[in-house]
Every structure is written in structure tokens, then in C-alpha cells.
């Protein structure tokens, strides 16, 4: 059984990474997710990335940290990282921390694809 934490799909030049966990809370899991995300940029050289949150019901501030680092790595590589399908409770977390002003948040996949 695979222990991949994200599912990868290619749509044209864009990579869609879909989180498979409902809860992105525990440290070991968050580190694993971080490694998989960063690998998309650092090892695979991908620059156009959409992170799909449709399955995610919970995330912690440690997970936010990985998203910020991912955002910076993609920007540094000259690419774009967009987030989509974020449930209302999770969107509140982004707004409280003001990260909706830093990260590129989109309503759904079509909206996110429109950023590229």
C-alpha cells in the first residue's frame, strides 16, 4: 500500500497535487507532505502547481508553515502555486492568519487553472 500523501495529476503544463488526508495535523504526516511538495519543485523541476484541498477538513499551523515554504520555493523557481477547493473552515484559518493575502487562493480547479 502506497503511503503517498498527495496524488499528482498533469493538466497540460500544470501539475495538480491533491492532498489525500482529511486531517493535516500530526507532525510526521506534515513533514512527509512537505517533502512530497518540495520534491515537485526541487527534484522534478515543476513550476506551475495547483494544490487541491477538496478532501481536507483540518489543518494546523505547522501545515500552514509548509504551504508558505512551498509558495516561496515555487516563486523562487519563477513559477506559480495556486490553492483551490478550500473548505469554509479552512478558509477561515487562512483569513485569520492573513495568509489569503500572501498565497494565491482560488475557488475551484477551473479558477486555479485560469491563473496559468
Amino acid at each position: 500500500m502506497s503511503d503517498q500523501r498527495i496524488d499528482i495529476e498533469e493538466i497540460g503544463e500544470v501539475t495538480v497535487a491533491r492532498f489525500l488526508d482529511k486531517k493535516i495535523l500530526d507532525e510526521a504526516n506534515i513533514d512527509k507532505i512537505g517533502s512530497e511538495l518540495f520534491g515537485l519543485v526541487e527534484q522534478d523541476g515543476r513550476k506551475n502547481i495547483i494544490l487541491d484541498f477538496s478532501l481536507v477538513e483540518y489543518l494546523s499551523s505547522a501545515a500552514l508553515g509548509k504551504l508558505i515554504t512551498m509558495h516561496k520555493k515555487v516563486a523562487h523557481a519563477g513559477g506559480t502555486c495556486a490553492l483551490c477547493n478550500i473548505q469554509k473552515d479552512i478558509l477561515d484559518v487562512f483569513k485569520i492568519t492573513q495568509l489569503h493575502k500572501v498565497l494565491t487562493l482560488c475557488t475551484d480547479l477551473d479558477d486555479a487553472l485560469g491563473k496559468f
Binding site: E27, A28, Y58, S60, D89, K95, I96, T97
Partner: protein
């Protein structure tokens, strides 16, 4: 109306053990028929408080314990989380939304707890956090802009 439920546990500095306690407290909330919104707020707050105690308080030292006392009544939850570390001054934690710190990957846990809880207080030199959330609290207040 049902009697308050009480949980008192000590765990080593291990986040997987912290997750077990989280689930036990969430289970008590479900017994008292709290809403999904209340459960979301408390799961997030418990994760931040317990992780802070393990990582920043006890610095992951498994010889040090984290003590968790929870009381779940029909009206509110009250949870205390205490570590055995050196303590800290919560006033020293920078505002993570300021331009200087907004892109830092850490430092948002305390802010989130304050947004979701009706009461947050540090005591014992920053080693103990006391958290309360009332049933059907309107928190967090989100300012759309």
C-alpha cells in the same frame, strides 16, 4: 443536561500521544453533542497547545511530561495543558501577520488559539495554558477584505 466529563492524563513528549488525547477530548465533545464548528475550533486549538508544549516547552524531551486536564460540560470546554520546560513570555511572540513575519513558516499557533477560544491564559511562567470555548461560540470573527 448531563454531568460534566473530566479527563486527566500525563503523556510523554510525543506528538502521536498528543493526537490520542485530542481524540479522547473530541469524543467527549461528541458525547455532549457539540457542533462540528465547535469541534473544528477545539481540534485546532488542542493541536496547537499540545504541539507547543511538546516541541517548544519540553523540546521533545521524552523524559518530560505534558499534563492535560479537560472538563467538558454542556455549556463549555475548559482544557489546561502544562509542560515541564523553561516557560516563555507570550508577549514576546511576534505578530505573525506583520509584514516582517507574514512569510515565516512558524509562529501562528497562539494567534489561532486566540481567534477560536473565548478564553486563553498562560500561567506558571508560560508552562501552562488554560483554554475555554463556550458551546456554539460565534468565534472566530472573520473580517472579510
Amino acid at each position: 443536561m448531563s454531568d460534566p466529563s473530566v479527563l486527566s492524563v500525563q503523556i510523554p513528549s510525543d506528538t502521536s500521544e498528543g493526537l490520542v488525547v485530542q481524540e479522547q477530548i473530541i469524543s467527549l465533545m461528541e458525547q455532549h453533542e457539540y457542533s462540528m464548528r465547535d469541534v473544528f475550533a477545539m481540534r485546532l486549538s488542542l493541536e496547537e497547545a499540545i504541539t507547543n508544549a511538546i516541541r517548544h516547552g519540553n523540546r521533545g524531551d521524552r523524559d518530560k511530561q505534558v499534563t492535560i486536564n479537560a472538563t467538558v460540560s454542556d455549556e463549555k470546554l475548559r482544557v489546561e495543558v502544562e509542560d515541564e520546560g523553561e516557560g516563555f513570555d507570550p508577549d514576546d511572540v511576534p505578530d505573525p501577520t506583520s509584514a516582517e513575519f507574514i512569510e515565516r513558516p512558524s509562529g501562528r499557533g497562539l494567534m489561532l488559539m486566540r481567534a477560536y477560544l473565548n478564553f486563553v491564559e498562560y500561567s506558571n511562567g508560560g508552562r501552562r495554558i488554560t483554554m475555554e470555548r463556550e458551546r456554539n461560540s460565534e468565534l472566530p470573527i472573520i473580517e472579510d477584505d
